[in-house]
């Protein structure tokens, strides 16, 4: 082996050096590993001085290979590749060993961690000598963007892009955009009307020339890669011809079938079988809910068709499919509300006057089922006392360990609205009050002054079983008041459960479709929790709003704008570098069996009919290695992941157990000493 390898061990401050004897690892590498001509340790390899160290060695010592033992390649692979390139070395001749994430951070025994680090370095040194020079290619970025989800985060992202002159497809599952924000009455802490600030944005979307709004539609399939995605969208049959419909609303008026609206009205109100979720819906076209339509059920009725002045009703309409080409994707798919019936002792679904936060939002809303009147389930009686229960399904190990972030402020808002609209006493039962952003604490102070009662303690039970005088006919909130250290029973007329935000029921499915990952809870995972909150580990796919984790409206809007900005910079650059890590099929060994053709998850393998061999499309190939493993003739190699490279890496990792190796059994140093 004639390669000249340089090994660089990073201290990462005390992150690595605190658990690994870095000097010993560096020294050991030079003495024991074939090909190593320089081996150094340094406080911060990623600093410019650290990088210069590598560059200088490449020039002076004539290094042909570089190994950096530092953090995960996710963080600094680019940095060190660039350093190599600066010194004239092909960047793919550098290999990183993750001493921090995979060793020092997860070890408690310094000696063992040091030994393990030696093996990780050995693996990298053996592997890197088999690396080949690779050249990255650039591909153009399609300037059109797909935004999935028409809540406030998705709307913001779409508008930002459209205002910058870029084409956007906005796909929304429901008949109208607006998301959860459209359901709310007021927004905290300023108490401005949610619809008043949202609907102008919605109409901006409607009129924006650059936005193609695909409502009542869902993404079926995604393929391709950054800059060049192919997306198939299913446009569900509305049974209404959009080109003819004027949105006059006569069909809704005449439809004889009334059903409970489980989505927009959160189950608290009714809609017709042909409906728009709310009057300001965008687009203005209604949809027929096939499951509840009398015509689809019994074959007669067609009242909507009879009364439609423009003949826009079409019962024969079918789902249609659109194939879109986009360069980037922004996911803003939002959240579902926690199913409060999962905590039966809180009585939701059994006790009529227990409501969820979303139901209460609709109740407060002037265009909601009660026209904004705060009343009990009978629809007429005004409550004289209201209990607001925090953390229902959140901060609870049985359901969701996380804090749902917005409920404290929403509860304060509810308290204000109840006191403004009724004479009721309001009790908030909280674990910790968390009004933690701009003007939020002040809002809490305001509610304290307005006379809202605060009881610190998690509610044990809500019951209608009266025990003491004064409890008859009431809902009794049983709670331990942890500030006075006593059990309390608070009789009230109405209870509002602050249900947690949960990932969409199909979040994992959606993540899989777009090739991104989810947290344990089901929130989409950002590329970096602090420094890259809207990108994902998949290039070209961005996330915004609550689908990434619970957050309020200002934070969702910020993320929508941030994601749009990320996409804009790619569009402006116009092209993107593609890693040269792709599969290659060696024609002379290919039998033309075509097994790889169907296996490729990116549809990157075509079949050459003339030569009767399979061919990899390098622009589509992601270098996943599926075909390499599957090829029965061993005719496919994966660049940067050849069998020889992998075997060499394994050999390095097993250095201590391979007999006859000069380095001996390094995993048992005490044995060697004895």
């Amino acid at each position: 082996m004639s390669e000249r390898v340089g090994v660089y061990i990073c201290h990462c401050g005390s992150n690595i050096a605190g658990m690994v004897d870095v000097a010993q690892v560096a020294e050991w590498a030079k003495e024991n590993l074939e090909g190593v001509v320089v081996s150094r340790d340094y406080k911060f390899m990623c600093s410019s001085l650290g990088q210069e160290l590598i560059e200088e060695d490449i020039r002076k010592e004539g290094l042909t290979r570089v190994v950096v033992g530092a953090c995960s390649p996710h963080l600094h692979e680019k940095t060190f590749r660039r350093a190599c390139a600066n010194a004239g070395l092909n960047p793919y001749l550098m290999q990183m060993a993750s001493l921090r994430e995979q060793i020092s951070w997860v070890s408690e025994d310094k000696a063992a961690a040091t030994e393990k680090s030696k093996l990780a370095i050995a693996a990298a040194v053996k592997r890197v000598q088999l690396h080949e020079e690779l050249e990255a290619s650039r591909v153009p970025v399609n300037p059109t963007t797909l935004v999935v989800g028409g809540g406030i985060a998705g709307i913001q992202a779409a508008l930002e892009l459209a205002e910058g002159g870029h084409q956007v497809y906005l796909v929304e599952r429901e008949p109208s955009i607006g998301g959860h924000m459209a359901q709310f009455d007021k927004t905290f802490p300023t108490l401005d009307c949610s619809a008043c600030i949202l609907t102008p944005r919605m109409s901006d979307v409607e009129v924006a020339e650059n936005i193609t709004l695909l409502s009542y539609a869902e993404v079926e399939d995604v393929s391709g890669f950054i800059g060049n995605f192919q997306v198939r969208v299913r446009k569900k049959a509305r049974y209404v011809k959009e080109e003819l419909c004027t949105g006059c609303g006569i069909c809704e008026e005449k439809c004889p079938k009334k059903v409970v609206d489980e989505i927009f009205e959160a189950g608290l109100g009714y809609r017709k079988a042909i409906y728009r979720p709310f009057p300001q819906a965008v687009p203005k076209y209604p949809v027929i809910d096939r499951e509840n339509c009398i015509y689809f059920e019994r074959g007669t009725c067609k009242a909507c068709e009879k009364f439609c002045p423009t003949n826009a009703i079409d019962f024969e309409q079918q789902d249609s499919f659109l194939d879109l080409e986009v360069g980037n994707v922004i996911l803003a798919t939002g959240f579902d509300l926690f199913d409060c019936t999962k905590i039966p002792q809180y009585g939701y679904g059994r006790l009529a006057n227990v409501f969820t936060n979303l139901e209460f939002e609709r109740m407060c809303n002037a265009s909601g089922p009660t026209e904004g009147k705060i009343v009990l389930r009978d629809g007429v009686t005004e409550p004289k006392s209201v209990a607001i229960v925090h953390c229902v399904g959140s901060r609870d190990k049985r359901f969701n360990p996380y804090c749902s972030a917005v409920c404290c402020m929403a509860a304060l808002k509810f308290g204000h609205l109840v006191m403004e609209k009724t004479d009721a006493e309001v009790y908030s039962f909280y674990i910790d009050m968390r009004p933690n952003f701009k003007d939020y604490e002040e809002f809490y102070d305001r509610l304290l002054e307005e006379g809202m009662h605060f009881v610190r303690g998690r509610v044990a039970e809500i019951t209608d079983a009266a025990r003491q005088p004064g409890e008859e006919g009431k809902l009794i909130v049983q709670v331990e008041d942890t500030l006075i250290g006593q059990q309390r029973r608070v009789p009230v007329d109405m209870v509002i459960l602050m249900g947690a935000m949960e990932p969409r029921a199909d979040a994992t499915e959606v993540a899989l479709k777009f090739g991104i990952s989810c947290s344990m809870a089901g929130w989409f995972t950002e590329r970096h929790p602090k420094l890259d909150p809207v990108a994902t580990m998949t290039e070209g796919i961005y996330i915004a709003g609550v689908c990434q984790g619970p957050k309020d409206i200002p934070a969702s809007v910020s993320q929508g704008a941030a994601a749009a900005a990320r996409v804009k910079s790619l569009i402006t650059t116009g092209s993107v570098e593609i890693e040269p890590i792709v599969a290659t099929i060696h024609e002379e060994f290919c039998s033309g069996c075509r097994i790889c053709n169907d296996l490729c998850p990116f549809n990157a393998i075509d079949f050459d009919d003339e030569k009767e061999v399979s061919v990899v499309n390098e622009a589509l190939c992601k270098g996943c290695g599926t075909c390499v493993a599957a090829c029965p003739a061993g005719a496919i190699t994966g660049a940067h992941f050849s069998n020889e490279q992998i075997y060499a890496e394994i050999e390095g990792l097993l250095l201590d157990v391979i007999s006859g190796n000069g380095s001996g059994r390094v995993r048992e140093p005490e044995l060697a000493e004895a």
Partner: protein, 322 residues
């Protein structure tokens, strides 16, 4: 279906009605309940508070006997306290090997030994609800309990302690509710279904127990329950035998029969009430027996059609219902 049967002290004395109705129902379904020979007391609620090791040894003996006799791998206890003690012992011996060693030393003096996990202690309700299943039970119902409003009462010992797998929701169990509904009865959504009956407090601090009993009786009568249906002899004894004293203490006039769920099952399956232990209760169930089959004054279920001027808001949709 073959099970080791651990009746416990109550069922051979104060809760004979539970014993006879359990046996009658079990045999009707072809379940073989074979009594553990030479079983001893489970230590009830007191012994575990006085001498833990001795208490484990006491219960361990029952488990060892069950495992030894014809190799039962499941043991059924109709009493919630017996069930809990058996379950707790099996669980703790498995979790703390040192304890298991100590207990086995004690058992060895009687020529016995017990391997934790070899016998699974189960409550009667769990066995009937899960092993038979509602469909099988409903198929045997010949005299549906129409017209009866029943309050299902679980007490605290069956569902509360978390010892490995749970039998039902600890806060709001529903298996007994569903079972009684399958018998054709109208089931009260009883809010106090897992609240305490006072246990042995009747002996220690009667007033404390009376207050706990009053809450249960008052709530059941507010819900117009014709009977409270229990799964535990302690609960039954307290609510039934002390009902008169509660009435004297508070000046109330509660008159609610307290019956075992197996008695209700037997009734619905057309068995003779006498053979199910009816008549042994303090608060007579005669009125209740007469009521079966009578049409209730108000017809429950069918919701009236929504009137045009009805402003009421829809109730939330609950998963798995209508």
């Amino acid at each position: 279906m073959r099970y080791g049967y651990y009746p416990g002290c109550s069922l051979s004395h104060s809760a004979r009605a539970y014993d006879v109705s359990t046996k009658a129902v079990a045999s009707a379904f072809g379940m073989q309940f074979e009594e553990i020979e030479d079983w001893n007391c489970c230590g009830a609620t007191e012994y575990f508070s006085l001498n833990l090791t001795a208490a484990y040894a006491l219960v361990g003996r029952n488990l060892a006997l069950a495992a030894g006799q014809n190799g039962f791998d499941q043991i059924v206890a109709p009493c919630s306290a017996c069930y809990l003690n058996l379950r707790k012992t099996d669980y703790s011996l498995g979790k703390y090997p040192e304890l298991a060693t100590t207990i086995n030393q004690a058992l060895a003096s009687g020529g016995l030994s017990y391997e934790p996990g070899s016998v699974k202690p189960r409550h009667l309700l769990d066995v009937i609800y899960n092993d038979l299943g509602l469909e099988t039970i409903a198929a045997k119902v010949t005299n549906p309990l129409k017209g009866l409003r029943l309050a299902p009462y679980y007490g605290c010992l069956l569902v509360r302690p978390e010892l490995g797998e749970r039998v039902d929701d600890p806060e709001y169990p529903t298996s007994l509710d569903k079972l009684l509904a399958a018998l054709g009865a109208e089931v009260v959504d009883f809010p106090l279904k897992t609240h305490c009956c006072g246990g042995h407090m009747t002996q220690i601090s009667a007033e404390t127990a009376y207050e706990l009993l009053r809450r249960l009786l008052q709530n059941a009568s507010e819900y117009k329950a014709d009977a409270i249906v229990t799964i535990c002899p302690m609960c039954q004894l307290n609510l039934d035998a002390y009902q008169g004293q509660v009435n004297r203490h508070f000046g109330t006039q509660f008159n609610i029969p307290v019956l075992y769920f197996t008695q209700m099952m037997g009734l619905a399956m057309g068995m003779d009430p006498k053979g199910l232990g009816f008549g042994q209760e303090f608060v007579s169930a005669d009125g209740l027996l007469e009521k079966i089959g009578q049409e209730p004054e108000e017809k429950p279920g069918a919701r009236p059609r929504r009137r045009r001027d009805d402003k009421s808001l829809p109730m939330p949709k609950v998963k798995g219902e209508g």
